[in-house]
Every structure is written in structure tokens, then in C-alpha cells.
């Protein structure tokens, strides 16, 4: 169970020093395993991306005559499947960020009003939200296609945003509800005595303390919209509103695609969400300290 050990300074007695050395070695070994595990499929993607003809079965374990051509092609939109790549990249950003923002906003408002303001019968809403998951999302494609046409949102990025927010928000609500349990209710009450309105409590107390959960769920919502492809197929059709997953799926059109371009696209496309998660992760620590001081 050494995994569960939170770090902390121990007295420098020999027994502890030995123990720390053992723990450290085990951690390094675990880290090594994790690197291999996480990177193997990605490494294979890089191998394919670096091979000149998109050779999938080269049998090499090191890039043989590596070529950066495929990344150049992605960068310069030099292949016909990728001729709108940056436009589509931008569309993916718009859809992803909007989904993230709306999911966090709607999810946190709902969990705040039910968990903190204790809206009467509010639990009905969260329980009903679970109905969203009774039929798996990929099998709700047909009715979604239909209502989006009905709402006049055909071939409009907002239809994808709406669908993604629909699937992400119930989850956001559950996690926020669970997470909110650890925030002492006294904080709200003392603020209320000081004359703060619910909106002020939400903005100045609830949201900052929820930061770690907001970052985790926000990344979830972003990646859901970022990588989802079924709904983007279904709801978007013209090249200037399409997102990168739709462009990626074009490669599956043929048995003979340049797989090196496909893999290079996928690798380039995976970078922004990681950077964003890592960037936002700093704010999680900020939320933690605040909780520590006030709680």
C-alpha cells in the first residue's frame, strides 16, 4: 500500500531512510512500467507517422529512415483530406471549449442549488438526469439527428455542443455533488450571515473550492467533445463547420489510406488537451490551499 502514502518529511532515522529508499525504488519501477504502458500504442503511431509510405507492417522497432514529411503535410494542409485542417482544428476548439464551459456552468449551478441551497425536490432533477445514460449515447444518434433538424440546427456546430453538453452534464452534476460533500457547509452559512447572496456564495466560495473537480470534469467535457466522432459525423456535413475527428474518419474511407498522415494528424491533435489539463492543474492546488485555510 505504499502507493497510498502521502509524501511528508520523516525523521531521519536509519530505518526510515532505508524505507524511503525502497519506496523510491518501487516508485521508479512503477513509473517505468507506466511509461511503457502508456506510450506503446502512441509510439507505434509515431513509427507509422515517421515512415514515408505509412507502412503499418514494417516490422521495425526503430524508425527506419524517419521522415517528418507527414507532419509537414499536416502543418501545411498538403493532403486533400487535410485541406481544411486548421479551420477544422479551430472548429474543434470552439466545440470543445464551449462544451467545457457550458458543462461546468450548468453542472455547477445545478449541484450548487441542490447540494448547497437544498432546493426542495431538487433531487428529482438529478435523478432524472440519470435517464440520459439509460440508452448508450451511440444508440441515441437517430433521435438526436431528428431533433437537431427540428430545432433548425442541422450542420451547425451548436448542435454538437448541445449533444455533448447533454451527455457530459449529468456526470458533472454527480461528481460535483460527491465532491461538494467535503466542503464544510459552515462556510456558506457564515457568508450568508455576512449578507452574501447565493450568487456571491456561488462565485466567491463554491467555485474556488471546487477547483480540482472543475479542472477534472472540465477536461473530461473538453475531451468528450474533442474526440467524439459519431455525433460530429451525424450533425455536421459541410467542410467549413466540420471538426478534426470527421476529417480523421475520412482516412477510414479507403483500405489504402496514407496512414502516416492519419497518425500524424492524431498526434498533433492530441497535444492541446494535454497542455490545457497541465496548465489548469496549477489551479487545483490553489483551490486546495484555500480550503485548508478556511476549513
Amino acid at each position: 500500500m505504499s502507493l497510498a502514502l502521502a509524501p511528508g518529511r520523516r525523521p531521519g532515522r536509519p530505518r526510515y531512510r532505508l524505507r524511503r529508499a525502497v519506496v523510491e525504488t518501487l516508485c521508479l519501477a512503477l513509473g517505468f512500467v507506466l511509461v511503457i504502458w502508456s506510450l506503446m500504442p502512441v509510439y507505434n503511431m509515431v513509427l507509422i507517422a515517421l515512415s514515408e509510405h505509412g507502412a503499418v507492417f514494417s516490422g521495425d522497432i526503430w524508425p527506419h529512415a524517419p521522415s517528418l514529411e507527414s507532419f509537414v503535410v499536416v502543418w501545411t494542409q498538403g493532403f486533400w483530406y487535410l485541406e481544411h485542417f486548421w479551420r477544422q482544428f479551430g472548429n474543434s476548439f470552439f466545440v470543445g471549449l464551449m462544451t467545457m464551459f457550458l458543462t461546468l456552468l450548468i453542472g455547477s449551478l445545478t449541484s450548487f442549488t441542490i447540494g448547497r441551497l437544498r432546493l426542495r425536490h431538487g433531487w428529482l432533477l438529478t435523478n432524472a438526469a440519470l435517464l440520459t445514460y439509460v440508452i448508450p449515447a451511440s444508440f441515441l444518434a437517430i433521435p438526436f439527428y431528428r431533433i437537431m433538424q427540428g430545432y433548425g440546427l442541422g450542420d451547425n456546430p451548436w448542435s454538437v455542443i448541445a449533444a455533448m453538453v447533454t451527455f457530459a452534464t449529468p456526470y458533472a452534476i454527480f461528481i460535483f455533488q460527491q465532491y461538494g460533500k467535503s466542503i464544510p457547509m459552515e462556510l456558506d452559512e457564515s457568508a450568508r450571515i455576512d449578507g452574501a447572496s447565493p450568487l456571491q456564495i456561488y462565485v466567491w466560495i463554491y467555485l474556488p473550492l471546487m477547483a480540482p473537480a472543475l479542472v477534472a470534469v472540465g477536461t473530461y467535457a473538453l475531451l468528450l467533445a474533442w474526440n467524439e466522432y459519431l455525433y460530429q459525423f451525424l450533425l455536421l456535413s459541410s467542410p467549413d463547420v466540420m471538426t478534426v475527428p470527421v476529417a480523421l474518419a475520412q482516412f477510414l474511407n479507403s483500405d489504402e489510406s496514407p496512414w502516416n498522415y492519419m497518425m500524424a494528424t492524431a498526434i498533433v491533435y492530441a497535444v492541446p488537451p494535454i497542455v490545457m489539463y497541465y496548465g489548469f492543474r496549477r489551479y487545483m492546488a490553489a483551490g486546495l490551499t484555500m480550503g485548508g485555510v478556511k476549513g
Binding site: 507492417f57 437517430i142 427540428g150 433548425g152 456535413s237 474518419a249 489504402e256 496512414w259
Partner: protein, 459 residues
């Protein structure tokens, strides 16, 4: 079991109320002369450009407008199913390989009869294309035209000619009957391996159950070569009770299983997806491959040496009885969903498209990956049999000029389900993996095929 009717389910839902309040007409500013078209994306940019040109020319000629979106086939399949199920449909769907979904759509009476469009060119269209365009409607209890055919394709052999020579053989020596033709390649494996190609196999035989297409197409070709062409007939009937069919099936799977267990096929072939044989073929990991259209060669178009000198395309040898065998042909084209708001424009557009000169120009500009559904075109235009291209003439010979039969999907929607269950290559797997005899594997597959066909009764 509470069976909600569609209406009550909708009326009961708040969402529907919201829908009707917020809803706007499907195409708010559509003039009566605009048709919405969903077009499948080609393998090559030239195919899409050729499609755009047809649209532009049609718009100029007619004054109507075509509002099109081009999408990958996975998206098109999914969107078509969603549209036809929910009733919110485009005016025309143009699909290169519609035979997996079209039979079910026609069966359910969700398509518009396009006989009047097909009739215009009926005398010129190949009989096979006509068969591929007609489907059974279980509501009207009749077969009719639901597809306006434009293009067709079949499966040629793709061979690395340079590897054949490297192994010390000459392709011109290849026998002219089916099994012997395949067997001709087997002895090449050893000399090639001895020459340092350690991982090479002779045959890219896709005995896969993953597919979705390759294993099924391979099986059908073997059946035809073994005299089992009439496993399904135009009346939609399955003839598994015919001893000739049974014999053909046993022969086919026995040969495939033997080639596999004999070590001439990469063992992984049992679980290949449709792209795996192509990838391996391009890496020269086997000598011969049997795969649809000329895309295998066209993908190497830029590599002039490979395209012009090393690769060889061959049509079908004779059947095992020494007689010529027909190639199994699939047909692509446009179909019109019921509920289309501008069906007249869609029909007019297809009539325009189906004119021989328009069809020819479109397919030529698309690099000739697809051959025309009107056979006279390839005789009138030297492009199709131009000997300067090493691959197109043998392919056109096989797919247009030689004997052809329609893919069985056109005869009965059940065939699509049989294929989706990968029933046939499954029986090869039953032999090589589960140790069944060919007879037992055949019985098992036939029994299941009969059960599936029993669900579709023709009145």
C-alpha cells in the same frame, strides 16, 4: 410489455412539445428547385472533383440547384440510416457501395421507386447493373428499381510480378483454372524466403471473419469457381438444399482451410480487417491478393516503378470445371428516400447523370477506379482499354466485358445479414481453429443461413 406507439411516445414527451415550439422548416429558404444531395467521398480527390463537375454542369443546364455535402462512407451510412428511420431525409443519397444498407431500406418501403429514371437508359445498362438496382419491397410485395446505377466494380487479382520473377517463375505460365491458378503461387514462398524475404507468404487469402467485406467477397468468388454460383437466385431463394451448392461449399472451404494450414497464408489472416491485406501487400509481404477495385494499384500511382513495372492486375481464371466464371459485381449510384421534398429535381439530376457521356466523363475523371454501368462506353472510348495503362484493360475486361453476375445482396436482404455474421469464413475458421470437418462446418453454416433467409418471405 408496454408497447408505446410512436405518436403517444412523442406526445408524452416534453421534448416533443419543445420541438414543435422551436422548430423551423427543414430548409428555411429552399426554393422549390433545390435538391439536397448526400454524396459519398471518393478514395481520390479526382473522384470528388469529377462529382462537383457533374453538379456544376447540371446546374448550368437545368437552372436547378444541387445543395450537396460530401462525406466519408461511414458517416454516410450512419446518416442515411438515421435519416430514413427518423423521416428527415435528403432528396438524394449517392453511394458507391450501397448494397449493405439498400436491400433493408427497400424492404421496409422507405425508398422512392425510380423506375422512370432507370427506364430512360434501360436498353444501354448492363443486365447486371439492372439486377443490382432492383430490390424487393415487402410492403408493396414487388420488386422494383430503387437505385439509379452509375458505376460498377468487381474483384481482380493483384500480383507482384517482380516477386514472381524473383522466385523463378513466369506469370504467363499460370494455369487457367481456379484452384490450379492459386496453387501456382504456393511454391514461390520458399525461394523468396531463401532470398532473404523472411516474412513473406505466397497468398494474401483473406479468410477473415472481421472484415467486413473481404472475407465475404473471397468466399463468393470461390463458390462461383466451384460451380456454386446459384447459392441465391433472383427470386430471393437460398439453395443450400441443392447437392451441387453443398459440394461447391465443401470444396471451397476445404481448399481455403488447406492453404491456411499448409502455411501459405499469414496466420493472422483469420483476424484481418479490410485494410490489413492491403497494407501487407504494399509492403510486399505476400505475392498475390484478391481485393475489390483497382484502388490497390492506384494507391501506388505515384510510385511509377511499382505501378508500371512491378504490379500486375489479372481478371478471373476459369472455374475448376474449365468454363469461364462470372465476376461478382457491385453497383453504385443514387437512391431517393421517401419523403424527399424535391424528388423531381433529384430524378432529373440522376437522369442527367446517367447519360452515357456524362457517366463516362465522370468515371474517367475519377481515375477509372469504377467502371461504367453502361458497357458500350468502354467500347466507344479508347481510355478504358488503353494498353498504356497496365492495369485498367484487364480490370475492364473482367468487370464489364466478361461475364458478370450481381452481388447477392440485391436478391434478398438476408444475404446482407449472412455477410454481417461472416458465416462463410466462419466455417473456414471452424475447420482450422475448431477442428471441424468441412461437412460439419458446411452444415452449421447452411443451417444458420436458412434460418436467416426464413425471416424474409417473398409474397
Amino acid at each position: 410489455m408496454v408497447t408505446m406507439s410512436r405518436r403517444s411516445a412523442m406526445a408524452a414527451s416534453l421534448g416533443f412539445a419543445a420541438t414543435s415550439v422551436l422548430s423551423r422548416p427543414y430548409i428555411a429558404n429552399a426554393a422549390a428547385t433545390t435538391a439536397t444531395v448526400w454524396q459519398v467521398q471518393g478514395f481520390f480527390p479526382e473522384e470528388d472533383a469529377a462529382f462537383r463537375k457533374v453538379v456544376a454542369d447540371y446546374e448550368k443546364a437545368s437552372g436547378n440547384k444541387i445543395d450537396y455535402s460530401i462525406m466519408p462512407f461511414m458517416a454516410l451510412n450512419q446518416k442515411s440510416v438515421s435519416a430514413l428511420t427518423s423521416g428527415d431525409v435528403p432528396d438524394l443519397i449517392f453511394h458507391d457501395a450501397p448494397e449493405t444498407i439498400l436491400p433493408q431500406f427497400a424492404w421496409n418501403d422507405t425508398l422512392l421507386d425510380v423506375s422512370d429514371v432507370v427506364d430512360v437508359q434501360k436498353s444501354k445498362l448492363s443486365p447486371t447493373a439492372l439486377d443490382c438496382a432492383s430490390y424487393y419491397n415487402s410492403v408493396k410485395k414487388a420488386r422494383s428499381f430503387y437505385l439509379c446505377p452509375i458505376k460498377q466494380a468487381c474483384e481482380p487479382f493483384h500480383i507482384w510480378g517482380d516477386l514472381v520473377e524473383k522466385a523463378g517463375f513466369k506469370l504467363s505460365d499460370a494455369p487457367k483454372t481456379w484452384d490450379a491458378f492459386w496453387d501456382f503461387f504456393k511454391p514461390m514462398q520458399k525461394p523468396l524466403r531463401d532470398k532473404g524475404m523472411r516474412k513473406i507468404y505466397a497468398l494474401g487469402l483473406q479468410v477473415t471473419t472481421v472484415g467486413p467485406n473481404d472475407g465475404n467477397n473471397l468466399f463468393a468468388a470461390f463458390m462461383i469457381a466451384n460451380g456454386g454460383k446459384d447459392i441465391v437466385t433472383k427470386d430471393g431463394k437460398l439453395h443450400t438444399d441443392d447437392p451441387k451448392i453443398r459440394e461447391a461449399m465443401i470444396k471451397s472451404i476445404t481448399w481455403m482451410a488447406a492453404a491456411y494450414t499448409g502455411g501459405f497464408v499469414p496466420p493472422e489472416a483469420l483476424s484481418w480487417n479490410d485494410a490489413d491485406d492491403n497494407n501487407a501487400f504494399h509492403e510486399k509481404l505476400f505475392v498475390i491478393d484478391f481485393d475489390g477495385t483497382l484502388s490497390t494499384e492506384l494507391a501506388m500511382f505515384k510510385d511509377k516503378k511499382a505501378y508500371l513495372e512491378e504490379m500486375v492486375t489479372m481478371g478471373l481464371p476459369n472455374g475448376n470445371d474449365g468454363k469461364p466464371v462470372p465476376a461478382l459485381v457491385g453497383t453504385g449510384g443514387g437512391f431517393i428516400p421517401k419523403g424527399s421534398k424535391n424528388a423531381e429535381v433529384a430524378k432529373e439530376y440522376m437522369k442527367y447523370f446517367m447519360q452515357p457521356e456524362v457517366m463516362n466523363a465522370n468515371l474517367k475523371e475519377g481515375l477509372g477506379r469504377w467502371v461504367p454501368a453502361i458497357p458500350s462506353i468502354v467500347k466507344d472510348d479508347p481510355f478504358w482499354l488503353d494498353p498504356k495503362d497496365p492495369h485498367r484493360p484487364p480490370y475492364v475486361q473482367e468487370a464489364v466485358l466478361g461475364p458478370t453476375i450481381p452481388s447477392y445482396n440485391a436478391f434478398n436482404p438476408a444475404w446482407g445479414q449472412v455477410q454481417a455474421e461472416q458465416l462463410w469464413t466462419q466455417s473456414v475458421a471452424d475447420i482450422v481453429k475448431n477442428g471441424m470437418t468441412a461437412q460439419a462446418a458446411t452444415d452449421k453454416a447452411f443451417k444458420r443461413a436458412e434460418a436467416i433467409f426464413a425471416k424474409f418471405t417473398f409474397g
